[in-house]
Symmetry: C2
Amino acid sequence: MVTIPRRLDTEDAQLALERIQDLLKKHALVENLVRRQEEGDEQADIVEGLLRRQHEVELEHTLNQLHPADIAFILESLPSEQRRLIWSLVNAKYDGDILLEVDDWVREDLISSMNREDLLAATEDLDADELADLAPDLPADIVAEVQKGLTNEERAQLLEAMGYPEGTVGAIMDFEMVRVREDVSLEVVLRYLRRLEELPDHTDQIFVVDRQDRLQGVLSISQLLVNDPDTNVKDVMKTDYLSLKPNDDDTDAASAFERYDLVSAPVVNRQNRLIGRVTIADMVDVIREDSQEQDLSRAGLHEEDIFAPVVKAIKNRSPWLLINLCTASTAAVIASQFEGTVSHIVILAFLMSIVAGIGGNSGNQTMTMVIRALAVGRITSKNFTSLLKREFIVTILVGFIGTIVAAGFSWAISGSFKIALVMATAMLCNMLIGAMLGVLIPIFRDKFGKDPAIGSSVLLTFVTDSLGFFIFLGLASIFLL
Amino acid sequence: MVTIPRRLDTEDAQLALERIQDLLKKHALVENLVRRQEEGDEQADIVEGLLRRQHEVELEHTLNQLHPADIAFILESLPSEQRRLIWSLVNAKYDGDILLEVDDWVREDLISSMNREDLLAATEDLDADELADLAPDLPADIVAEVQKGLTNEERAQLLEAMGYPEGTVGAIMDFEMVRVREDVSLEVVLRYLRRLEELPDHTDQIFVVDRQDRLQGVLSISQLLVNDPDTNVKDVMKTDYLSLKPNDDDTDAASAFERYDLVSAPVVNRQNRLIGRVTIADMVDVIREDSQEQDLSRAGLHEEDIFAPVVKAIKNRSPWLLINLCTASTAAVIASQFEGTVSHIVILAFLMSIVAGIGGNSGNQTMTMVIRALAVGRITSKNFTSLLKREFIVTILVGFIGTIVAAGFSWAISGSFKIALVMATAMLCNMLIGAMLGVLIPIFRDKFGKDPAIGSSVLLTFVTDSLGFFIFLGLASIFLL
């Protein structure tokens, strides 16, 4: 067995990435030479060919000392052409693992560069649940071909796993479960385990089922090891375990793993029959993906990577910017109703964006807090009012501090005490509107089953911009003209 | 042993929370009655006292059916007064677990409501690493008192754990390790384990050490179970394990756990002596906390909860708003230099905020991507230029779409083709500036060792606002007057 080094931190990964990039550069230089000398004598061709080959060997050597997870990282960090060169040099036995590991858009790219034989070789050793993960990206005939090599049980598992939509426990469960009966002794269990080549990854408990495969309890490995081998499974198994249903939300399952520090959990169907298992490794991926999605969605982005194709990036980014353009234009139209006022006191034009901006920022702080509290389920119909009240008090107090600064600034720039007063009033009003919306928008979106993060900030900024302009210029029209 | 139900999703948690809130309401009603009738006859007092007691019993019963992790959640979701009432009803044997589970600000509140005896009782059964987590929040004399009850080894562990700063592996490691020698057989290991009451949580591997406690390898539980008991530890232990150093960054360690699907990892000192262990449960907390911190810091917030005290909230929120106020005011001062231009063509006042806003939004999209790529280490000095190039191309293409819409809008609102042209040019320029800053700001902050997320967006918005105003009004001054 080869020893695959595991690296601790991102710096080590960067070093590996940079080394690969160095080698790629040398390789590209040689390629160029070869191309330029295409008309040259045969001798030179051979020398260049050897040189290129040598770089490839070096690349290959460097690559195959890395862990599949790290190769996946490098593939994600390279432009398409270099990625495909590297992919062709990777030891074929890791192909399946790496395909499972990389991001969707890289996987598509890699699969499209592979021929039928490569794909079959990469997929034939995968488990049913892993195959189910890859299947949507594989050509249909490959999936059909690989299915032929499966046992009936595995084929049923593949169909089962492919039947659940993304975001459910069913879509991420695996089928590597160790089952025992409750009426046997631990000695029997130990002997049974010794017949296996290895335990499935993350086996911290063994599932105790009856003849109909209905889950009766779980036997933790810890109990198996510390108890007398003559003890019966029944006497040491736990019955207060957490079990999941295949249609449960994967985010909920991840929270449960986090709360109860679980390593694995059984998945059962309605008849309480054991159909799969979920492990903490899947859950960590869910937690990470959820947090990335939230990050990106806040900037109006879907999954995108800095090395994804440009066309993908344009499709991803333009809708959000167009929406922002529309809301900003609407706010501008509202403000332009006060053209008369602004033409009289031009300085208002430069102050109005401050009012709008602070309202949006303040509301965004409230909204960030509320979205987080909603995510963990901390907001109920019973504490909603006290929450709103609290945000109002905080905003008024913070607002007073800001208002004094803003009033001082507008006085300095305009020399008018009245303008400063209008500025202060409008700013405080707009901050309160921001706070109210920061609480209400996410709660309403949540109530109607929509993700509270996406869209909330557009709506908030739109209202604080439009109303900010309206209140400020409106007050100015009344009191300053 | 009591069966503690584990709940799957946030809805169940909300139900429990609502039920507690209901009971609290009833309880508060009775309390009020009692207070009002304080002058009344003794008879009534006794009746009310009984009623109140009955509600407390009901609350207590409901509470103590919950898992400690769920009680922690409920304590975090209640205002301070109710929180303390609930805390006084919780079964004392869970006190320690719950204190470890709750957020810092709740912990402080709970500890301040406990007397000496309660604190001693809650802390005396904790492990050294758990005690180290609580110690900063405990009164010094309690820590001293509890230390007396520790063995010498535990006391050394406590000092060790308290010696590492937050954010390092040392600060989160525990000391519950099972150690064996490499020259014994698996049978001996099995017998040794059987003498324990239970294995430490998350024991997926046993550490193989020499006489000086230096780590020689790890024996996975899987290997222990599937191999013949006569095999020697030496022959089945793994030597290509990941080990951590106590000063390693906890975020790096969490990435390694995620990448290699680990359940536990040994922590060794410079001499390769085994000093602790980190488990996936700690790592999940690190991942969750990091993502929450990023979320909040993007809105200019530190750790805050919707039920944290108001004073805390004000301190937390005002600095960010004041900074925003300053940058917005500076941008307004820059724009006001063009007072003459704006007083001639008032409509510019309403268009200029669109230019500024879109530049900021577009730059923010780029920045979000770059920050994420930096976090996983995907950006090296070798791909930096191609990254910048890519973002320029994407922005120009997305910008063209936006520019056409914006030009159309300004034409419609102003009726002037020249204004539309100035608008389009300024917008595209500002978007490119946003893209450039979106790449450069986080990379520079990262280079100088600062967290790329915090502060980046303030700087970005400041520049896109100021330059947006400047470019738009500047172009207008040149071409429209």
